[in-house]
Structures are given as structure tokens and as C-alpha cells.
């Protein structure tokens, strides 16, 4: 009855070849019972036929029992499988922990590589997620559209609309729940909070009263603006303000009773009517890299004659697409008046009202950069995987005996592969955890880079999407870098591995070939990264080197408070005279400070906000000839400004004698002069347009360099400069050119300003270089990231080269020993190893260069005055790679050349 347990019958071995089959088991078990019963009955004298019937009868519902058996068997089978799996897994994990601990050096290197690569990936994913994937931080943000003209050369004035245009567009459009906008020309620190010691500068933006309602922003405390607030408010003197959460915390120590209190803003008592929620950051969305402290309601009626003031924003009705809104806007635009008082301004906005998704406006420009960044970290991850594959292969070589032993002891190949994959997974999960920490640190740092002009930076964080992404890349990475060594290990010839270390056998030669292929791949990827980084770096250097038309170094600006108001001054002449006196005094006192080379004021600075008035035309020409041209950017400056900014001037500068009652004078930019008087000297010519306070004509007294006024990289438009004594400036930035670093001059300059005007605020002393840096910050940001990723890639590639060459030298110790015994010199051996290294590196470089030639087309749009096939960059990157390869190969080469033939031959 009892079967021999040591000898399973033949059928048993194949009985469940295709896995367990509980239903069949139950059937067979019951069939055996029936047969036994029948036999017993026959033995008792029943006829076979009757016996079979009787046995069946006694059994009853055999099918039902079979079914019970099948179900229970299935259940047991499942439990068994699960348990087997769990036991195996626990075993694998324990085993892995043990081996990884034993090999601490390898483990640490592997985890560090993975942490860097995965960390970079998480960080970049979070940036991409925040800027591109996640909706903007407003309810139903997909309904929000930005409404603006196509880009033009006249700066902000050509990107904005007038009060009349707003009212008409709002009433004519049917696509929107509502349309709103904000005053686009507010400068930083345009208000001053007084009453608490030194006046505190703050930035306040004027918004159309429904602004927050359209965005869907609810106040944390208090209420939002109403139309009544708007009507009661005047430019520079608002009776109601809303304050940002950050400013509330910072300036008012999060005063819970702030709502209803009045604050003194530039001499006007303004009531704080509400505090905005912490989640609303105006700067992050509309004006990256700046902070906005407060909001005032804009009185639309007040600004009707002031031209273009507002940027438009709309919230589409549910179900209305951007295309529909665009089509509608194209029909409405020609019906808008620039100023309803002047019928000939009908149609000024023709073709200039184009809605686009707000998200597109905020981050659309960054799309390509982000995708490039994303690809770069993807490549880093690939390089890291290749590297890990390589490390694992090297380790696998050393462990082949261990695997052979396990194989011989009955571990299946699947089991061995699983063991290897468990190791890979544990490595990559550990790397991912460390990477998460790295990424969190990096993101924390990034989100506090307030001065980088990138939108939504403060929103950067690791969210659930980033965690899922982490898990995904950790598992993918484990599979990618674990599969090659896994397959190789599983294919190992156990016997051969057991016999000897396998040195010099076909197996490890094959191994080496795979490792070489991996290293070549790695070098190729690093090469692509380096070329990309090199092109971006070169572009950045070109941008930094760009002649902006002014000299940012050793110049600084500070905003000067002044009061030039004169009662009953209808024409502005009196206040212009007063202004002249004030600033002549200020500038002469400032110039007296040792170390100040030049000083002057302007109401706008390059690369900041700007404005344009209409186009003046040369006297005697037909205005119709210049109909479609846009006006130059306007700067109202004092004598000395041109020199203080370091701009080159042909002709003469303004003097204090160019007063309100003397003939109008202007300076114009080279490009404008060349356009109006192509073959003549512009100096001395007369322009007609918005002249000085008393006459429409103005004499061009000088031509200055074209200034990159709107953007560093963009094409330069025209500029025109008016003297502050003939036109009203909006503000006065005092620009200083110093022989010493500007920061050291701050105290003495502020002292002079305070002496002359006790109300002068403690304004920030801003180096002009900061303006340029701010404008360049997105490019610098992306360039720095890509360059650091490329460096990381290069490092990893170097590690890969070193690993492979070093391993090859170890493996060939004996061979090298023999060669040296036969007379090969140390130098020769060293050369040979280095040649091998270079062969790998060159193969990688050739491959990488070829791939870069194709891939760099993708980043062409991000380059500045650099060809995507820039030979210098390609050559330089190849040179760097070769140098690094030589360094990486030198260490093993030196080791090879120091091999003692005797020792090498004796040892095995």
C-alpha cells in the first residue's frame, strides 16, 4: 500500500507537467475509489456489471463531490503557490541583504550611482509636472485664457489694451464668463508704506475689479474688490487694497485683525479689505521672478486717455474652446476703438486680439527646454543602468562559482534570474529612496530661487505623481540593468564555472565583449549629453557676451522719491522746472561722492517693464508712409543717464538748459536713425510727434547705441529718449556708474538722498547686472542643469571605462606576465592597455557624435547664435571624452605595467 517514497513512478514525473490540475486530481481520486469498490463487490460474488452499478449507487452524487474537490484543491494550490512565493521572496531578500552587505563597496557605489540618476529624474519630473503637466493653481484653470497681440517690437505697450478696448471687448464677446485684466506697467517697489519708521517699498499691481473673481481666487480673510472700490480709486492713491499672504505675514506679522485697518501708502490712507490665500502667487504665474505684495483696484475711467494699459485675461464659458474664442476675437478686434473719442482709432487692434490658453502663455515657451531636460536625465538614467549592468556583470564574473554551486544544488535558472532581479530591485529601490531625498533637497533649493524668472517655481514639490514616477523608474531601471547580467548568469555553463575560475576561457571573453559594448553605449550617451551641454553652454556664453548697448558691470540703480507737484500747473511746465531743480541738485551732490563716475536718472530701465508712445516722424514726411510701423520704446531721462548706463553717444547729451521752455530735443537709437535717414546724419534733424510740453517738434541732438531693451536675446526695437525737464517721467531710477563695486557706494548715496529728501524710502540698491542676470536666468538655469547632468554622465562613463579596463587587466594578469617575461617592456604593456581604452572611447565617440548630429537638431531652437552642428563644440567634447578615457584607462594601465611576471605566473 505504501509507495516507495524514494522512487516516484514514471507517470508521476510528468503527471502535472503543465502545472497543477485540482479538478483532474479529484476525478482520479474518486475513480480509484469506485474501481476499488467494484473490485471488492466482484470478489464478494457480484457480476462485474452489477458491481459497477452498485458501487456507483453507493457513491451517490459523484459529480458534486468532484466539484467540491476541484474547488478545495484550487484553493490549496493557490495558497501553496503564494506561500512558496513568499518564502522564496523572503529567502531572496535575506540572501541579497547578506551578499550586498558582504560587498559593501560595490553596494555603496551602485546605490550612489542610482541615487544620483534617479534623484535627477525625480527632480526634473517634478519640474516638468509643475510647469507642463499639472493645471495652473486656479479652479477650472483650463477655462482661463490670456488675450494678447502677437509679439511686436514695441514692448509692453504693444502687448496691452486701452480702457475703451476693455469695455467694448467685454461687452461684445460671447465666449467668456468674464474678462478681466491688470495694469501692466507697475514697476517693482512702486509704492511706499509709511508710518512705521523708514518708508517701506512695496510692489502693488493695479487690477480690474473683477480680477480675482475671474481667476477664482477666494480671499483668506475679508473680501475682494467691487466696482465701487474701483470708482473710488485713483492712480497712485487707492483707498482699498488687497494684500498678498506672504506680505501679510512678513509686514504685518500675520495680524488676524488686519482687515479694516488703514495703512499709509505714499500719503494716501488705504484700507486693507482682505488678505489673499497663500496659494495665490501673482508673480509665479504672470511675472516670474518677481514678488507682488499688494493689489489696488484700477479705475478704468481715469485711464481712458492714457493709451494701452492692460493685459487681458478671460475665463471661457464651459464648453467654449479656445479656437472658438479666437475666431470670435478675430471678428471683434476690428470693431474695437483704441480711444472711443477718436473715431479714427477704430480698428487699431485689428488682428491683435488673440486668446491662447493661460497655461500656454505661462509655460509654453519652456516646453522645449523642459523636454530637453527630461531627455537629458533620461540619458543619465540610461548611463547609470549601463554602468550598473557593467558592475553587476563584473560581480557576476566573480560570483559565477557561487551560481554554479547553487545551480548544481538544484536552483532552477528561473530561480537564479529571480535572485539576480531581486538584487537589482533592492539596489534600485534603495537608490530611489536616496534619490527621493536628493530630489527633495534640490527641489527645496529650486523653489526658493525667487530671482529665477521661471513661472510656478515656488510650487515645486514631490507629489503623488512624482512618487509613482519614482517607483516606475526604479522598477524599470532594475529590469534594464538586471536583465543582461541575469541572462548571462543563467546561461553560464555550470560545470565549467565550477572547474576553475574561468580565466581566459571563452565564457569570460564573451563577458568582456558584452561589457565593452555596454561601455561603448555609455560613452556614446555621455557624448550626446556633452555635446548638448556644450552647445547650450556656448549659447549661454554668447548671450552673456552680447553687446546689450549698455555696460551692466559697475553700474547700479536705486529708485529716487521726489515730489515735483506744483499746484495749478496746467501745462506741466512748472513741475518740469521744479523737477529740474530737484534733480540737478541731487545729481550734483551724488557726483561729488568719490568713486562715482557718472550718474543720471531714467523712468524705465532696460530689460524691465517698458512703454511706447506713437511713432514720431521726420518733419516734412507723409504720416501715411509710416502707418504700419510701431513706435519706439520711450525713456524719460536726465542729463548723465546715457553715460551712467555706459551707452555710446554720437552728438550731445541733454543738459539742464534743455528746459521746458527751450526747443524740444531727443536722443534716438541707431536703428531708428538709420531707418529715417538712411544716408544722412540724423543729428540735427527734426522729428514731429509727441514733442515736449509746449511744441510737437523735437530736434535729434544725438544718436545712441541700440539697447536690448525688451529682452537680451530678442531682436532689438527702436528707442527714443526724452529729457525729464521737457516730458513727465513716471519715476526716477538713479543710475550710477562707479569705479568701486556699486554695493560699497550704497550707504553714501542713500545718505545724500536722505539729506535732500527725508521721505526717501530705504530702497534697494540694484546692480544693473542683476537686471541682465534676471533676464538670462531661465537660460542660465537650463544650461546649468544640463551641464551638471552632462558632467554626471561623463563621470559615470569614466567609471564604466575604468571598470572594464581594470577588469580586463585583472583577467589578463597571467597573459601580461608571460608577455613581460618574454621581454615586453612596461611601457609597451601600458600602451597596449591605453590603446584598448581609446578604442572603446573612440567607438563611443563616433557613435555618440553620429547620434548627436541627429539629436542636436532638437535643441536648435534653444541655441543662441550657435549652430546645432557647431564643429568647435563637437571637437571640444570629443577631446574631453578622450582625455577622460585616458585618465580612466591610465590607472589600470599603470597597474598592468607593474605586474611582476614571476608573481603573475605563479598565482592563478
Amino acid at each position: 500500500m505504501n509507495p516507495d517514497p524514494n522512487k516516484p513512478p514514471l507517470w508521476r514525473r510528468y503527471a502535472r507537467f503543465f502545472g497543477a490540475d485540482p479538478a483532474a486530481d479529484a476525478r482520479e481520486e474518486l475513480a480509484f475509489h469506485l474501481e476499488s469498490k467494484t473490485e471488492e463487490l466482484i470478489a464478494q460474488g457480484w457480476s462485474p456489471e452489477a458491481a459497477r452499478k452498485e458501487a456507483r449507487r453507493q457513491f451517490g452524487e459523484i459529480r458534486a463531490i468532484e466539484r467540491i474537490g476541484a474547488v478545495m484543491g484550487e484553493k490549496m494550490e493557490r495558497k501553496r503557490r503564494l506561500k512558496d512565493y513568499a518564502t522564496d521572496l523572503a529567502h531572496d531578500v535575506r540572501y541579497t541583504l547578506r551578499t550586498l552587505r558582504r560587498d559593501a563597496g560595490f553596494t555603496m557605489v551602485a546605490i550612489a550611482i542610482l541615487a544620483l540618476a534617479i534623484g535627477a529624474n525625480i527632480a526634473v519630473f517634478s519640474v516638468v509636472n509643475t510647469l507642463l503637466l499639472r493645471p495652473l493653481p486656479f479652479p477650472n484653470a483650463q477655462q482661463l485664457v490670456w488675450i494678447a497681440p502677437p509679439p511686436m517690437k514695441c514692448g509692453l505697450s504693444c502687448a496691452t489694451y486701452s480702457s475703451d478696448a476693455y469695455d467694448e471687448f467685454r461687452s461684445m464677446s460671447r465666449s467668456y464668463q468674464d474678462v478681466t485684466g491688470y495694469f501692466a506697467f507697475s514697476d517693482q517697489d512702486n509704492y511706499h508704506l509709511t508710518g512705521h519708521g523708514d518708508p517701506v517699498p512695496l510692489t502693488a499691481i493695479g487690477v480690474i475689479s473683477n480680477f480675482f473673481q475671474v481667476l477664482g481666487v477666494k480671499p483668506q480673510m475679508g473680501r475682494l474688490f467691487t466696482d465701487a472700490d474701483a470708482h473710488a480709486s485713483h492712480v497712485g492713491a487707492s483707498s482699498a487694497i488687497l494684500i498678498s499672504n506672504a506680505w501679510w505675514k512678513h509686514q504685518f506679522a500675520a495680524d488676524p485683525n488686519i482687515v479694516g485697518k488703514t495703512v499709509d501708502l505714499d500719503g494716501t490712507q488705504a484700507t486693507v479689505i482682505g488678505v489673499l490665500p497663500a496659494g495665490f502667487d501673482f508673480g509665479a504665474v504672470f511675472s516670474p521672478g518677481t514678488k507682488v505684495d499688494a493689489f489696488t483696484p484700477v479705475n478704468l475711467d481715469e485711464g481712458r486717455d492714457w493709451g494701452n494699459l492692460f493685459t487681458f485675461l478671460g475665463r471661457l464659458k464651459p464648453g467654449v474652446t479656445v479656437e472658438q474664442a479666437r475666431a470670435e476675437a478675430a471678428i471683434i478686434a476690428p470693431k474695437l476703438y483704441f480711444n472711443a473719442k477718436y473715431p479714427d482709432t477704430l480698428g487699431n487692434y485689428k488682428g491683435q486680439v488673440i486668446p491662447e490658453p493661460l497655461k500656454q502663455y505661462v509655460s509654453g515657451k519652456l516646453r522645449r527646454s523642459l523636454i530637453v531636460l527630461w531627455s537629458a536625465v533620461g540619458m543619465i538614467l540610461l548611463i547609470a543602468c549601463v554602468n550598473l549592468s557593467n558592475l553587476l556583470l563584473a560581480r557576476a564574473g566573480a560570483r559565477s562559482k557561487e551560481w554554479a554551486m547553487r545551480g548544481a544544488l538544484g536552483a532552477s535558472r528561473a530561480r537564479i534570474i529571480r535572485q539576480l532581479l531581486t538584487e537589482s530591485l533592492m539596489l534600485s529601490i534603495s537608490g530611489a529612496i536616496l534619490g527621493l531625498i536628493l530630489a527633495a533637497a534640490l527641489l527645496f533649493w529650486l523653489s526658493h530661487q525667487g530671482s529665477v524668472a521661471l513661472p510656478l517655481l515656488a510650487d515645486l514639490r514631490i507629489d503623488s505623481a512624482a512618487l509613482i514616477w519614482t517607483l516606475l523608474i526604479a522598477i524599470t531601471a532594475a529590469l534594464v540593468f538586471g536583465i543582461v547580467p541575469g541572462m548571462r548568469m543563467a546561461r553560464i555553463n555550470f560545470q565549467e564555472a565550477l572547474k576553475d575560475s574561468g580565466a581566459g576561457t571563452g565564457q569570460s571573453r564573451k563577458h568582456e565583449r558584452i561589457r565593452s559594448i555596454l561601455v561603448v553605449t555609455e560613452v556614446a550617451l555621455a557624448c550626446m549629453l556633452l555635446v548638448g551641454a556644450g552647445l547650450l553652454l556656448r549659447s549661454f556664453l554668447k548671450v552673456v557676451d552680447l553687446d546689450l548697448g549698455f555696460q551692466p558691470s559697475r553700474a547700479a540703480a536705486v529708485i529716487v522719491d521726489y515730489d515735483d507737484s506744483v499746484p495749478n500747473d496746467k501745462t506741466g511746465v512748472l513741475s518740469a522746472q521744479k523737477r529740474g531743480v530737484i534733480f540737478q541738485q541731487i545729481l550734483s551732490r551724488i557726483m561729488a561722492i568719490p568713486g562715482i563716475q557718472a550718474a543720471g536718472t531714467s523712468d524705465y530701465l532696460p530689460l524691465g517693464r517698458n512703454r511706447a508712445w506713437g511713432l514720431p516722424i521726420p518733419q516734412g514726411k507723409n504720416p501715411q508712409d509710416y502707418k504700419d510701423l510701431v513706435g519706439p520704446l520711450v525713456y524719460v531721462v536726465s542729463p548723465g543717464y546715457i553715460r551712467a548706463m555706459g551707452m555710446k553717444l554720437r552728438g550731445r547729451d541733454f543738459t539742464w538748459n534743455d528746459g521746458p521752455n527751450s526747443p524740444g530735443v531727443v536722443l534716438i537709437s541707431k536703428a531708428m536713425a538709420r531707418f529715417f535717414w538712411p544716408n544722412e546724419d540724423a543729428v540735427g534733424k527734426i522729428l514731429v510727434g509727441r514733442g515736449n510740453l509746449t511744441s510737437p517738434t523735437m530736434r535729434v541732438i544725438g544718436v545712441v547705441d541700440d539697447v536690448h531693451a525688451d529682452s537680451v536675446e530678442g531682436a532689438t526695437g527702436w528707442q527714443i529718449y526724452y529729457p525729464m525737464t521737457q516730458t513727465s517721467p513716471l519715476a526716477a531710477y538713479l543710475v550710477l556708474r562707479t569705479t568701486l563695486p556699486p554695493a560699497t557706494m550704497a550707504a553714501s548715496v542713500m545718505h545724500v538722498l536722505r539729506t535732500l529728501n527725508p521721505k526717501q524710502t530705504a530702497a534697494e540698491f540694484m546692480p544693473i547686472q542683476t537686471l541682465v542676470d534676471h533676464a538670462n536666468s531661465p537660460r542660465r538655469f537650463f544650461m546649468l542643469l544640463v551641464v551638471s547632468f552632462a558632467t554626471l554622465g561623463l563621470l559615470l562613463a569614466a567609471l564604466g571605462i575604468y571598470g572594464v579596463i581594470s577588469y580586463a587587466v585583472t583577467r589578463q594578469t597571467q597573459e601580461i606576465g608571460i608577455r613581460m617575461a618574454l621581454g615586453a617592456s612596461a611601457g609597451r604593456v601600458q600602451r597596449q592597455v591605453l590603446t584598448n581604452t581609446l578604442r572603446l572611447a573612440l567607438a563611443g565617440i563616433v557613435l555618440g557624435t553620429a547620434a548627436s548630429l541627429i539629436a542636436s537638431r532638437l535643441i536648435a531652437a534653444m541655441l543662441f547664435e550657435v549652430s546645432p552642428w557647431d564643429t568647435n563644440t563637437f571637437a571640444a567634447m570629443a577631446a574631453i571624452l578622450i582625455t577622460v578615457a585616458i585618465v580612466a584607462g591610465y590607472l589600470p594601465a599603470r597597474r598592468a605595467s607593474r605586474i611582476d611576471p614571476m608573481v603573475a605566473l605563479r598565482s592563478n
Binding site: 500500500m1 505504501n2 509507495p3 513512478p9 507517470w11 508521476r12 503527471a15 486530481d25 479529484a26 482520479e28 481520486e29 474518486l30 480509484f32 475509489h33 474501481e35 476499488s36 469498490k37 473490485e39 453507493q58 457513491f59 451517490g60 452524487e61 459523484i62 458534486a64 463531490i65 467540491i68 474537490g69 478545495m72 484543491g73 484553493k75 490549496m76
Partner: protein, 119 residues
């Protein structure tokens, strides 16, 4: 053939199966034979009860099953006691004996309970 059938008390079949396996692995048919013969053909195990009971015990890890060859060289599923099964059998035996002794003590009573009324 039995003269009369006795119904099993609930749980009794389990302990009988465990007992049947004390001497070594058996297939289901042998277990029915064992119970029938040792009970003098009084206890008859129905197949519809036996096999589900066997599978239940296997599931509870009191029994382990393995395929083998029967005495007449046929493929049959053999059950054997696991360590847990042996332990279970010992406990059931003790319980059963205590129970049987108690029941038989009561049944062999010779006088009524000494109630308060008679005191």
C-alpha cells in the same frame, strides 16, 4: 451488509480518519474499509462525506497528500498524518475518552440527583 446505520456525531469522522492513518499513509478507500471493519460494519462512511472531510483536513494541514501506487498497482492519492495531525489526534482522543467516560458515567447512574427538595 450492515443491519443498521449509525449517524456520525459531528466531528467524529475527522478523528476516525486521523486514527485510520496512524499506521501510515492510506488512500480514501482503505480508510472507509478501516472504519467499517473496526466498527464491526456499524459505522459506514459515505463517500460524499469522506472525501470532502479528507480535503478539509488536508487544507487544515492536518493531513498531507501524495500520489502513489495502490496495492493493485493503480494510481491513488495517499494521505498521511502531519505533525499537526498527530497532535490533533492526541487531543481529540483525550477529549473523546473524557467525553465517553462522562457520558457512560451518567448513563450508568443508579440513583437520581440529590436535589434540595430531598435533602
Amino acid at each position: 451488509m450492515p443491519k443498521e446505520k449509525l449517524e456520525f456525531f459531528r466531528g467524529t469522522l475527522d478523528v476516525l480518519i486521523l486514527k485510520a492513518l496512524v499506521w501510515g499513509p492510506q488512500h480514501g478507500y482503505a480508510i472507509t474499509t478501516f472504519i467499517r471493519e473496526h466498527s464491526g460494519s456499524v459505522l459506514l462512511v459515505e463517500e460524499g462525506t469522506l472525501y470532502p472531510a479528507l480535503w478539509r483536513l488536508e487544507n487544515k494541514k492536518l493531513l498531507a497528500a501524495e500520489w502513489g501506487l495502490s496495492e493493485n498497482n493503480r494510481k491513488a492519492k495517499f494521505y498521511r498524518l502531519t505533525a499537526a495531525g498527530k497532535k490533533q489526534l492526541r487531543e481529540e482522543l483525550a477529549t473523546w475518552e473524557a467525553y465517553a467516560a462522562a457520558v457512560s458515567k451518567v448513563l450508568s447512574a443508579t440513583h437520581p440527583v440529590l436535589g434540595e427538595g430531598q435533602a
